[in-house]
């Protein structure tokens, strides 16, 4: 396979995953700000912007931060590289350039998602935004389904590899913005506001039901951390993402009989995580640990680009 094609496929995976994450972030933030502890919705939206690293890009001097302006910025703004429209444009551009390497079904799912948002001029009210995001999520699920029906060869692995790296990054950023809420066990349980925030975090990674299944008790903040960092059963946890990266890199190694720096780094990361528990992470500083994870994830991304000669 051409290195350039591989890079396009990898980025399709990253962009589609990022678009999906942005959809759920918008959805959960609308819910959180509707709960009413934050009448202007300012705080909820500010933290949503920081999750996607777009606080600086928002440009508050020219436009005040309101729920509407934040929704518009996160969904439609072409200047915001993490907006849903930017992500889908990126995915489609890469898909067009790699048309021969993807199935018609994969192409159509991406193209349909793009057509939904391409000409949208305004996110509308909260309900209209929710409808938009709901429609997009359905197409993105269609993309994931089409991926599952594609030949299990390099093309497929590259897209999965891209989404596993992106997913790790997204979950880690989400946790890092809210890390101070994940109080160590034994400390005073937060008020209603905190509980709503945890719920929101769980919702963004679609883990509310999963939490109940795995812990069978009331929401405990450090358990939210445990779930999203260490539980391999939870598809969007950092451990699950790290595992997936190892699995898909392993598929290449099995095909070619060769391994590289990306394989080694990804395996080392996973084995380090398997020896950890949430108490240790919190004692040594959750924020520092998440920052280190994000940096290591970026290093693995670079190692993949180098190993497969993305150029």
């Amino acid at each position: 396979m051409l290195s350039r094609t591989a890079a396009h496929l990898y980025w399709i995976g990253r962009f589609m995953e990022r678009a999906e994450f942005a959809c759920r972030l918008v959805e959960a933030t609308i819910r959180l700000s509707a709960l009413g502890h934050d009448p202007q919705g300012g705080q909820a939206w500010r933290s949503a912007l920081s999750v996607v690293g777009a606080e600086g890009a928002f440009g508050e001097e020219s436009e005040p931060l309101t729920p509407f302006s934040a929704r518009r910025f996160l969904t439609l703004d072409d200047e915001n590289p993490s907006s849903i429209r930017s992500c889908l444009a990126g995915a489609r551009d890469n898909a067009r350039a790699a048309r021969t390497a993807i199935t018609v079904e994969v192409w159509q799912a991406i193209n349909r998602a793009w057509l939904i948002i391409r000409d949208r001029a305004s996110p509308g009210g909260a309900q209209a935004t929710l409808n938009l995001v709901e429609e997009l999520k359905a197409e993105i699920r269609g993309f994931e389904g089409a991926l599952g029906r594609m030949l299990r060869t390099e093309g497929n692995w590259f897209m999965h590899l891209g989404s596993s790296i992106e997913r790790g990054d997204n979950t880690a950023r989400l946790l890092d913005v809210k890390y101070y809420l994940l109080l160590p066990p034994g400390e005073a349980v937060g008020g209603t506001l905190d509980r709503d925030q945890w719920t929101t975090i769980l919702q963004i990674v679609s883990a509310r039901t999963a939490y109940r299944h795995l812990y069978q008790g009331p929401l405990q903040p450090w358990l939210v951390g445990d779930l999203l960092i260490l539980r391999g059963e939870m598809p969007r946890s950092l451990t699950a993402s790290a595992e997936e990266t190892v699995t898909h890199l392993g598929a290449f190694a099995a095909r070619s009989g060769r391994q590289g720096a990306a394989d080694r780094r990804a395996r080392q990361r996973l084995s380090r995580m398997q020896d950890l528990n949430i108490e240790t992470i919190i004692q040594n500083g959750l924020h520092e640990w998440l920052q280190a994870y994000i940096a290591e994830n970026a290093a693995i991304d670079r190692a993949i680009a180098e190993q497969f000669r993305f150029g």
Binding site: M1, L2, S3, R4, T5, A6, D93, R96, A97, R99, T100, V104, W107, Q108, N111, E154, F252, S256, F308, R309, G311
Partner: protein, 481 residues
């Protein structure tokens, strides 16, 4: 305009009263199909093309503008007899084009013998100076030729132009057939239509047949300018159907005169490049230095005989309309036969007599730049405004050698689905002729382009044209007309 007297591909000159021999069943099918059903199928075709992304970009519009070429589901039909005569003429013409290209980049016998004036070759902007003296691998230059034909009567076919550079449109021949099989399956029961789906395999064989002799298990690739190019869909379609890699210039690298593509497993040697970029962009070291589409060192690799380029650099000169005007002489010179396909009468404005005739009869002529393509820069006299005509008059006087003029032909029509029911629309036809070390072959089909505006003679997709499927009937009952 020519419309009232034009020959119709279905009705001949009977004005809808009697179908041409062999096409009675098509006429009956058309008469029996309820308008609402025709409408439904027409819309289904459009939706299918849109969702497959069978699009093209129009230059001058926004980069993101992607359009589908309108597709009309009423086919254009050739009888077996018509096709076999056409195919013979096409193959003769393409043999002559290849012999001509091999000669002008080699011994130049045709110039020495005075069969055509030397300056139209040597002073031609399309003459590839770096290619002079280079023998193309296996002696083939124009591996893929799209010959544009028009028809004005039952036995009157004319060659409008030869496309030997990088002819496009073959993906429409294949996709249109797919659409017809899905939307009008009954037509294939009542008509014995020759299949076209072997084209990608024939093309692959042609490509690999011209690989350098030393290549053991030759690797072919399709070189595209990239996904913003207007024909990108076709590039990806063909690469996909031939099972070869679709590469861009940046995917290739030349090392010590050998071309490699960059893959995830490291460099892989490339033997044949089906290039869909123009000569000028092939290699910034030899042609345009600002080209980012090509590959530095590619021409050196080609001239060293380490890679075959399809079509060979320099083939584009055969597209030139001044050369076109000498095609009858060229065919006679290399084949020793009379041309089986005729040229449209052409006035070379570089000749004072012809220029005078052109200026005197501007309102009846079509004036074309000698090196243009895509219908750009063409003036159709009968449809031109006074201002357009004056612009061309000035241009003709300033640069007469840059133009040719031809009579306005009464292009044949085919019944076509329009907003106001079925009506005749003018068409042309582009068959594709393949030449490899394994011989000359023509797939029984081609691209029929249709001018969708009433009375219009301009069929180019960039100027509001559409396409139709082209049926070639196989011999046997009803196939001979």
């Amino acid at each position: 305009m020519a419309a009232p007297t034009a020959f119709d591909e279905l009705w001949g000159t009977s004005r809808g009263r009697k179908a041409r021999p062999g096409l009675e069943s098509l006429a009956a099918w058309l008469a029996d199909l309820p308008p609402a059903e025709l409408d439904r199928r027409q819309q289904a075709a459009e939706a299918a093309f849109r969702s497959l992304g069978v699009t093209f970009a129009v230059y001058g519009e926004e980069e993101s503008a992607e359009r589908i070429i309108p597709f009309d589901i009423i086919p254009r039909v050739f009888t077996a007899r018509e096709w076999s005569a056409l195919a013979e003429g096409l193959e003769q013409r393409v043999r002559a084009i290849n012999a001509f290209l091999g000669d002008i980049y080699g011994p130049r016998r045709i110039l020495a013998d005075g069969a055509i004036p030397p300056d139209i070759v040597l002073a031609n902007s399309q003459f590839c100076i770096p290619c002079a003296g280079a023998r193309a691998p296996h002696g083939v230059f124009a591996h893929i030729c799209g010959i544009d034909l028009v028809r004005t009567g039952a036995d009157e076919f004319w060659v409008l132009e030869d496309n030997a550079r990088t002819p496009s449109g073959v993906s429409y021949m294949l996709e249109n057939r797919e659409a017809m099989l899905r939307l009008c399956p009954e037509l294939f029961e009542i008509l014995d239509v020759a299949p076209v789906d072997s084209y990608p395999e024939m093309l692959r064989e042609t490509l690999l047949s011209v690989a350098p002799d030393k290549a053991k298990d030759p690797v072919g690739v399709l070189l595209t300018p990239g996904h913003h190019n207007s024909a990108y869909y076709e590039h990806s379609f063909l690469a996909d159907n031939m099972g070869i890699e679709l590469v861009e210039g940046r995917d290739l690298v030349v090392d010590d005169g050998v071309v490699f593509m960059r893959t995830i497993d490291g460099p892989v040697r490339v033997d044949v490049i089906y290039r869909r970029i123009d000569d000028a962009f092939l290699d910034p070291l030899v042609f345009r230095p600002d080209s980012l589409l090509g590959v530095p060192g590619l021409m050196a690799a080609y001239l060293a005989g380490n890679v075959s380029l399809v079509n060979a650099p320099g083939s584009g000169i055969a597209d030139d309309k001044a050369i076109y005007s000498y095609m009858p002489e060229i065919v006679r010179y290399y084949t020793g036969e009379e041309p089986k396909l005729h040229n449209v009468e052409t006035w070379r404005c570089r000749e004072p007599q012809a220029l005078k005739y052109t200026l005197d009869n501007l309102e009846q002529l079509v004036v074309k730049p000698v090196d243009g393509s895509g219908g750009y820069g063409v003036m159709v006299g009968p449809a031109a405004t006074r201002a357009e005509m004056e612009t061309f008059r000035a241009a003709l006087k300033a640069e007469p050698h840059h133009y040719i003029a031809q009579p306005t032909l009464a292009l044949s029509t085919v019944p076509t689905f329009t907003e106001r029911g079925i009506a005749p629309r003018h068409v042309d036809f582009r068959p594709f002729v393949l030449t490899g070390a394994n011989g000359v072959r023509t797939v029984p089909g081609g691209l029929t382009r249709v001018a969708l505006r009433e009375g219009s003679l301009v069929v180019n997709s960039s100027q509001g044209g559409g396409t139709k499927d082209s049926f070639i009937l196989e011999g046997g009952a009803g196939g001979d007309g």
